[in-house]
Amino acid sequence: MIPELGHFALILALFMVLVQGTLPLIGAARGSLPWIALARPAARAQFLLVATAFGCLTWAFVANDFSVVYVAQHSNSRLPLIYRIAGVWGGHEGSLLLWMLMLSGWTLAVSALSRHLPDTMAARVLGVLGLVAVGFLLFILFTSNPFERLLPAAEDGRDLNPLLQDPGLVFHPPMLYMGYVGFSVAFAFAIAALLSGQLDAAWARWSRPWTTAAWIFLTLGIALGSWWAYYELGWGGWWFWDPVENASFLPWLVGTALVHSLAVTEKRGSFKNWTVLLAIAAFSLSLLGTFLVRSGVLSSVHAFATDPRRGIFILILLAIVIGGSLLLFALRAPKVGLGGSFALISRESLLLMNNVLLVVAAGSVLLGTLYPLFIDALGLGKLSVGPPYFNSVFAPLMVPALFLMALGPFARWKHASLADMAKRLRSAFVAALVVAIAVPLAFGQWTPLIALGLLLATWIIAGSVVNVIERVRATGGGLLAQPRSWYGMHLAHLGIAVFVIGVTMVKGYESEKDVRMEPDDTVSVGGYTFRFVGVREAMGPNYRAMVGELELSKDGKVLRTMNPEKRQYLSSAMPMTEAAIDTGLLRDVYVSLGEPIDERAWSVRVYHKPFVDWIWGGCLLMALGGLVAMSDRRYRLKKAASARVVTQGAAA
């Protein structure tokens, strides 16, 4: 009964979004107030209905209702409760429903937090979001219904893939989807602006916090996924350039470009067309990612079980949504004004350069990801494009971007002087040079790549420090008086620097050993010593494990015991390795259990990974920067003040 209720709620939701996606848009075009007023209630009803459907599916999982096909395929009565809840998004149908729930959630947020918007604008934004929701609800109802029944019911479920039975599943997909779907709001604002012809600074100001919010979630989602892969897959890698990872990275790159370009549009009224195009592109790439994961056109570790019908459906959806918006763009963009003038050397042009680099980087990742498909489609053979390609193409593109990153905050709007900037940044450059030469020498190995990484990271950090000092001195208001958005920028830039340090250090100085250990054997890596105590058997809730015990010590002092596991899941008989990690600010020590060799001996792999946590720490700082920027008081303007901006903006 409950699953039918969920199914019914989804059908009602479809009707609701049909209302939300049509009447308010028509109303806004014709100036019909009652129709415009429909947008908000429809958005709220939609959320309630989708949330009900999601709740019903969760209930089916929690209650072990194996008469639902999807539950029978992705759960098991022995599965712990937390994974039965997270298991809701452990497969194609449920994760699509999560996607939809996120979309409804964002829609609800827009309807609640858009009081300061003119009603026609809010109606248009909600209308566009409604249209996107129509596509996805149709997709769910026609090709991927999670509530389909299995008659007779299964005795027990087939179980959730053991790889997914991890706290990572609880947090990573919701965060990532919040980010993916969040760009739909920036997209809806862009389309609404194109529809109304109201592409102005006010539009940029409204959509900026939404874009930043989506960007924060996406940053965190990607970082969580990377961290999950790091500790779960058992060999300490953190980024694999897998097609699906790339699919999440593409909207991030374009979203980052969008965040910067919105800054210009808001402050200077320039690059409006470009900003709109980026907003369309960021969401389009999210949709493309969905297509790549769910259609089976690329083989990937993350790919869901594929069904060609689904592929065709999303492709058509993609063609309508993206094609339609790009057509609208082509029709409306030529009439959009140019905004203020600026010189060749100015903050505007530097930000445009940043955009060019980020978009070229995104283009390159997209090219590498889809190239095997292009070649295959043209009948020219099969090939693979993997990490060696992406590393050698992506890194060089990032070098100028990182270099310019420190420069940006020093450039004035409209017109900047290179000589002046060089003078102010001289000390930062010297600091960077010293670090790049000295630190690798202190670590005992100097290579040009390590030096370059540290040079760029220090350059960004020192640049930020100089910029903060200068500004505080110049304004005289003290540290706290500075606008939060400005702090947010510096925090995010700092995050990038911390990330770069992490990557550089771990690539440059990590060490590993693959050894055969009998009880009491020791192995040392990076100054740490492991003593193998032994392996014992243990039972988990739904698996049998061999638990290794190793004693970690440094300089003769015992630090702790580490327990890497080798698990055998009961229902699927799939073996899984669970690494044990000692996390530290300056290094991780990582151990994973290999195979038993004989009665006493096991193969054991130990790693020393200096600064590896800085990779995710950097992402966290970026997200924090976004959060601080979002809290800037100018986004919390009262309706009156904001409305003034609108009328003036419209006139401009």
Binding site: S295, G296, L318, I322, G323, L326, F329, L373, F374, D376
Partner: protein, 174 residues
Amino acid sequence: MTRFLVPLGIFIVLVAFLAIGLNLNPREVPSPLVGKPAPAFELPQLHKPDEKFAPREMQGKVWLLNVWASWCASCRQEHPLLVDLSESKIVPIYGLNYKDQREDALRWLKQLGDPYVMSISDAEGRTGIDYGVYGVPETYVIDKAGVIRYKQIGPVTREALDGKILPLVKELQK
């Protein structure tokens, strides 16, 4: 106006490629060995481990080399087809028993029927590497001159047999 149509143009091209991509299998790896002489080997026979077999003995004949193993689930799926084919005596099938235990393999043939003129043991999988085997079962069509003319990846199906393998065999036998 036209320059604002560029993004749309790029997108249309992309959609066209994605649409074609939907009908392709990204996991299938075509073999570079097609059109090349079948790699030489000399391996013990499954039934008579003391005697060896080498592909050069097949000079002048068109034959199939089917890579199989008792642990391979999809081999079971194609097996009845192979048994049928061997009874029709159109083309001799040789089996390359890949990374298997001899007893298991013999029991398997006893249970399900033996379509092979002869099975050859590749216990180490070394010959499998030379033939570019990456997923058992795989089937090679080898011509009179000892050149590989076709490779079926995965189980032999009725369609593959009637549509490709048998017509090719008849063509080569002429």
